[in-house]
């Protein structure tokens, strides 16, 4: 094993550069989002989000150092222990947590609060990776698959108990990791189909049309294929199942979803439904981004975000500031930086010799991807408003630290990839 002071040479500096670029851009945009011309503020002011974010960034540097100093085997060895601890923490949150912004996701430590769910992401990634990397694991084994889904399912349930749907949904991104590690694409396809049916159910005002269409497709399929009893039976059962799903989605939307959740979904379908009420967030967010034009209004020159037209402009809607002040060019740079980072992470993952390290790498890429898709998709009106942060950009200590740890554990593993025996 190499000495600690040699490690800097083997760290992947491309990733570190991308990471630093995103963090610094995020910090500047947080300042722009809350900037008040009349108040004579500086970006360093600790009473402002930008000043505090700088503190968080400094703390992440310490965390990075710690991750690099700690022995690489520590993460795999203690993965299940961490997992157990975080489950306890997540379980405790609804009991002792404090409520911030409608979600009870915070545990107070002094005057600070941390969100255990942010740390649950990398810990679950470690646990999933460890399980996939364990001896005798086979992706085509149903038992193994069940354990994997349980590993991501328990945190989902616990986080959903905190009413933090956005963060809970993040854990579905592991399904992409399973896919990479050999899970049948059938589950993915079913998932995508289910989502399509879900949207269709909401789009079409009368379910009878859907049922009619399904019946027509069924008759068509029966007509063109072989008239065997078994085939017809399978098709009929499939059609019945889909109709059932439609009915249950309809029921779920109208009876299970809370009003604000239902509104968010409905606004996605028709954003003009209520531009001053439910549609406010999306409308204002699009106005802010759309008003940026090609080159943007210039740093601190935006009006929409800093004058609070966009809600949560330094956290979930931070991309609005980029769109407004730096225009399409700025958006292009940010999107490119993210794509570059994610592709680089996949590249790093693929060069790992252990299945543990590789699937951990894919977990990092997929979690980042999920956040990237949902967050930016939400601000430009492609996805419903689901409150999750834009990695490295959004204001907040827990979020920044969570992503920093997630990324740098991979870099640590990558730096020592030569010391690992191939186990694939």
């Amino acid at each position: 094993m190499r000495r600690d002071d040699d490690i800097s040479g083997s760290l992947d500096w491309t990733t570190i550069f991308l990471f630093m670029a995103l963090v610094v851009l995020g910090w500047l945009n947080i300042f722009a989002a809350i900037y008040d011309e009349t108040a004579n503020q500086t970006i360093w002011d600790l009473s402002l989000s930008s000043g505090r974010q700088l503190m968080f960034i400094a703390a992440s540097a310490v965390i990075v150092l710690a991750i690099i100093i700690i022995d690489m085997r520590f993460y795999e060895t203690f993965a299940y222990v961490f997992y157990g601890l975080i489950l306890i923490a997540l379980f405790m949150v609804p009991l002792i947590g404090k409520e911030v912004g409608g979600n009870k996701a915070w545990i107070g430590i002094g005057s600070f609060g941390v969100q255990p769910s942010e740390f649950a992401k990398f810990i679950t990634a470690l646990a999933v990776a460890k399980y996939i990397g364990s001896v005798g694991f086979r992706m085509d084994n149903l038992r193994n698959q069940a354990v994997l889904f349980a590993l991501i399912g328990v945190p989902i349930i616990l986080i959903q108990l905190q009413k933090d749907t956005g963060t809970a949904l993040v854990f579905t991104s592991f399904i992409l990791v399973f896919y990479r590690e050999g899970m049948s694409p059938f589950i993915l396809i079913v998932g995508i189909c289910a989502a399509t049916i879900f949207i269709l159910t909401l789009l079409v005002p009368n379910q009878l049309y859907l049922h009619g269409t399904i019946f027509a497709v069924l008759l068509f399929l029966i007509y063109i294929g072989k008239k065997k009893f078994k085939r017809i039976a399978v098709l009929a059962i499939g059609a019945l199942l889909i109709s059932g799903v439609i009915e249950s989605v309809d029921y779920a939307v109208n009876n299970v979803l809370k009003k604000h959740q239902r509104d968010r979904v409905m606004v996605l379908i028709n954003p003009d439904i209520d531009p001053l009420g439910v549609g406010w967030n999306v409308t204002q967010s699009k106005i802010a981004i759309g008003s940026g034009g090609f080159f943007g209004k210039g740093f601190l020159k935006g009006t929409q975000t800093k004058f609070d037209f966009v809600p949560k402009q330094s956290t979930d809607f931070i991309f609005c500031t980029i769109g407004e002040e730096f225009g399409w060019i700025g958006s292009l740079i940010v999107v490119a930086l993210f794509i570059a980072l994610m592709l680089r992470v996949i590249y790093l993952a693929e060069r790992q010799k252990s299945r543990f390290a590789r699937s951990y790498g894919y977990s990092v890429a997929c979690i980042l991807f999920f956040h990237f898709v949902i967050n930016i998709g939400m601000t430009i009106g492609l996805f419903p408003v689901i409150g999750i942060p834009l990695p490295f950009f959004s204001y907040g200590g827990s979020s920044l630290w969570g992503f920093t740890i997630l990324l740098f554990i991979l870099l640590k593993l990558d730096a020592h990839r030569g010391e690992v025996l191939q186990r694939i």
Binding site: I287, Q304, F307, L343, F369
Partner: protein, 607 residues
């Protein structure tokens, strides 16, 4: 088995990025709508309302000024811990009222929870003082200030007019786009006539604002801003003391007083009875008060000195006399017998000369005078002859300002009526007419109509011995210290100045020895006047009096109309003489006359 899956994931990542960039390109570069929406979000076009010009009287006493008034607005999103009981107590509204206001507010089309919405409008200064300190107990509620008109006196309401929100009609007819919905505009009287001078020029400031409407500095450092220019102040020719005195005298009566300074045409007093309190038409009860006033059967909004049309009666004989002298058909020494077979008359005189005929208001005399004017035998046809004569007569009578509105600086001035040949053609349906058909105009009856301000102007014209200035209420606009140009031009009658001596003599005789001797005669000054009694069957006649004083170098000319009050020698003569006294000496020495006027029992058999 896992071949190609890495590539699939990489492809998905890149694809999503590309989709985002395409979507971003659409909303950021291709679609301009968002930029416009952003501007309307964040750039507040703030109109800076100028102060409306002040109005003061000829002695510098303030009549109309501006007073701040306050609107309470609410941003519903900012309302926290709303204590409705305390709110009702502080703003002094009932619970039902509060509930109603919330309901109405939310029902409004432009309502938004994040923008300030009008909640209570037009708090007075006193009400504002009460709530000011306690406003911080109600987060989300804000105060916005603007100004409204205020008056130092209840007098002069009809002449001043009022200011209220611009109507839809006016807004659509506003070609120059000066006004916007919700703007205030002068609706009648001086406020309307001098709207252009009073309103000033609005400024516009472009401000940046945040989502709560809170201002966040100027847009582009004020490069597009313009400053507001306050309205011009007006000095009225009205003597406020005289005006108030006139209104007091007219209390409980229907009619008008118009007093003019003959040497300038400045209106000293313009009383319309009954009147109303101008304060009623400002502030938050404007609409309900307006309904109340406009539905009053006594018509307080009807500005009688300008709008009420009466037959001129005997006073018109002076104009006839002047015209006949100018035409040369009579001389001051011409005498006619009081032949009651021609036209009815009252007893006590016979075979008068012109002065006597005016002083005694002899009807047959003026029957003869008009016949001589209209039938000069220039044509063999009596019809054609009358037509030619009437045309000449028209020319003279019109030159006194009759038959057409004078052009006073107030809206809605009526024309009155002086019949022309064309008028009679229409009236007789193009059948022929001659003197015998129309002779009743000789004594101011028949088709003639005049408005009180024309009669006051007539008195001023006689006082000036042959010319007048168009009566006007504003003697100075802004810093010019001049009235509008049309009010500095002399209008000469077609009558030679020398003939007016006859009229002046006769009018002095009326006051010294004739019908005016009991109530219009003043000890210290020679008053020249003429009574008129305008038949108004079956109701009592209207009492009319015109006068000027002093006889030489006159300071005031006046016309008084008191409706349904009988003889001109009683109500109108008393009021006119009291006004003259008040203007010349500041008070009356004849308390009994004032008491008589205030008592208002003009129809009783007293002497």
């Amino acid at each position: 088995m896992n071949e190609g899956r890495r590539e699939i994931l990489q492809l998905v990542f890149v694809l999503v990025g590309v989709i985002f960039l395409i979507k971003l390109f659409f909303i950021q570069v291709l679609d301009n709508k968002y930029a416009e929406l952003a501007d309307s979000n964040a750039i507040l076009r703030q109109v800076e309302y100028p102060f409306r010009g002040l109005i003061s009287d000829r002695n510098g006493k303030l009549i109309v000024y501006n007073t701040p008034e306050y609107d309470v607005t609410v941003i519903l999103k900012d309302v926290k811990n709303f204590d409705s009981t305390r709110f009702c107590e502080v703003f002094q509204i009932s619970r039902e009222e509060l509930r109603k206001r919330f309901k109405e507010m939310k029902a409004r089309k432009e309502f938004s929870v994040v923008k300030p919405t009008l909640f209570i409008d037009q708090l007075s200064n006193e009400d504002f003082a009460k709530v000011q300190d306690r406003l911080d107990e109600f987060p989300g509620f804000y105060i916005e200030a603007r100004t409204t008109r205020a008056y130092t006196t209840k007098a002069l309401a009809n002449a001043l007019g009022y200011v209220s929100e611009i109507s839809k009609d006016k807004l659509t007819n506003d070609k120059d786009k000066i006004y916007r919905q919700g703007d205030y505009i002068g609706q009648s009287g001086i406020e309307s006539f001098y709207e252009e001078q009073l309103r000033g020029k609005r400024g516009v400031r472009f401000k940046l604002r945040n989502v709560k409407g809170v201002e966040k500095g100027s847009f582009k450092n004020g490069a597009y801003d313009t400053l507001s220019i306050p309205g011009q102040d007006l000095i009225a020719s009205i003597d406020l003391d005289l005006q108030q005195y006139g209104e007091m005298l007219m209390r409980g009566k229907s009619g008008s007083i118009a007093a003019i300074e003959p040497s300038t045409g400045e209106v000293l007093a313009l009383v319309s009875g009954p009147s109303y309190d101008p304060t009623l038409l400002t502030g938050k009860n404007y609409s309900s008060n307006f309904m109340l006033i406009s539905n009053d059967s006594m018509k307080p909004l009807f500005n009688r000195p300008l709008m009420a049309q009466y037959r001129p009666g005997s006073i018109f004989k002076i104009a006839q006399a002047m015209s006949a002298l100018q035409e040369g058909v009579i001389t001051p020494e011409t005498r006619f017998r009081c032949d009651k077979s021609l036209i009815g008359c009252h007893a006590g005189h016979d075979n008068q000369d012109l002065r006597g005929a005016i002083a005694n208001s002899c009807n047959p005399y003026f029957f003869n005078v008009l016949r001589k004017m209209l039938n000069k035998n220039v044509s063999s046809s009596p019809f054609e002859d009358t037509r030619i004569g009437l045309k000449e007569w028209n020319k003279h009578i019109h030159s006194f300002g009759f038959g057409k509105n004078l052009g006073i600086d107030l809206p809605n001035e009526k024309d009155g009526l002086i019949p022309t040949p064309e008028y009679y053609d229409r009236a007789y349906n193009n059948r022929p007419w001659k003197f015998s058909n129309i002779y009743s105009i000789a004594i101011g009856e028949g088709e003639n109509l005049v408005v009180p301000i024309q009669m006051a102007n007539f008195a001023a014209t006689i006082a000036n011995r042959g010319y007048y200035y168009i009566p006007h209420l504003i003697k100075s606009v802004g810093k010019d210290n001049k009235p509008l140009p049309q009010y500095t031009e002399r209008h000469y009658t077609t009558i030679d100045s020398a003939y007016f001596r006859v009229a002046v003599d006769a009018m002095q005789q009326v006051v010294d020895f004739g019908t005016g001797q009991y109530r219009a005669h003043l000890a210290d000054v020679v008053v020249c006047g003429k009574t008129g009694t305008v038949q108004n069957d079956p109701l009592p006649a209207h009492s009319v009096f015109i006068a000027f004083a002093p006889r030489d170098n006159p300071k005031i000319a006046i016309a008084v109309y008191v409706e349904d009050a009988g003889q001109g020698a009683r109500a109108a003569a008393s009021i006119a003489s009291l006004m003259i006294e008040k203007y010349l000496y500041g008070k009356t020495k004849r308390q009994f006359i004032e008491d008589y006027v205030l008592a208002g029992k003009f129809l009783d058999k007293v002497q």
